[in-house]
Subunit: 144 residues, 2 copies
DNA sequence: CAGTCTTCCTATCAACTAAGTAGGAATACT
DNA sequence: AGTATTCCTACTTAGTTGATAGGAAGACTG
């Protein structure tokens, strides 16, 4: 049960774009505010654009914006865009693991896990995550 | 959401040992019947023994046996024995992901996913998995 | 009791994939 | 034309997966 860096970065980037309020947000800004390696993030942004979740614009005032409203993009949409299938076992989708003999029952476990995860991530939208109460909208550095 | 080869192999090996009915099962037999690389499996068996899930015995009639009855070992026990924490985000446990700014809400998502997974894997025992109906207890090779 | 065989156990090394880096090509604005 | 930015491709690094070799412990045979 491992969430890859790619998936984590993709979600954080999408949230940062969504917080921009429709304005174009530059990749460098996303990398800076969420502490993501810029060149690695750029590859992730390409995936998100190809999946139809982001719109990009080049040039001086370029940047990224959500292709749909934040309440119509789920966490599951983002995970599938960058990672293919939602849950994989040894690189393969849980549906076709190919178990033999006494291990046959394992497939049902992975399918149940898959369903439980899907229930969470397909119900949670980016807008939901931006509505958390314990979050100061502007940062307040150096309190310590 | 990725299940590593190590976790998958560990579960399949535990099921094969449990199917032995208390008799000692050799590592080579486990590797053969479940099609697992023997040398890689041996490292996994060491983890399972150190976690107190398996007992090992050397010598001519040596092999492995369950340290507890199959209905007292859960899938979650096995996953934690070989993989540390049940769910990890970029290698770290979901509890302390350290999100900043607009991504704060993400931690709640991972905690919800963690809970959903734990509900499945901590409730399913090895004995449950051996009781699946669609499983011939003795193999029937070459039907095609 | 010596010898031998089988098995578990440990350490080391190669192949593969994910993570992170660097530089160049294409595009849009001034 | 010039500059800023996205976009694409090749390269390095770290961790996982899998292979090989040899040593240590128990069981049997003479």
């Amino acid at each position: 049960m491992y969430v890859s860096a790619r998936s984590d970065y993709a979600l954080r980037a999408m949230l940062a774009v969504a917080a921009g309020g429709g304005e174009l947000v530059k990749a460098a800004s996303l990398a800076d505010v969420q502490d993501i390696p810029l060149s690695f993030l750029q590859g992730i942004l390409v995936d998100l654009r190809r999946a139809g979740l982001l719109l990009s614009h080049r040039g001086t005032e370029g940047g990224y914006a959500l292709a749909r409203p934040a309440n119509e993009i789920t966490v599951g949409d983002v995970l599938r865009a960058v990672g293919g299938s939602l849950t994989t076992v040894r690189g393969l989708p849980a549906e076709r693991a190919g178990y033999q003999g006494v291990a046959t029952g394992l497939q049902d476990v992975w399918l149940a896990v898959h369903g439980a995860i899907a229930l969470v991530v397909d119900r949670t939208t980016l807008a939901d995550l931006l509505r958390v109460p314990n979050l100061p909208p502007v940062d307040d550095p150096l309190p310590s």
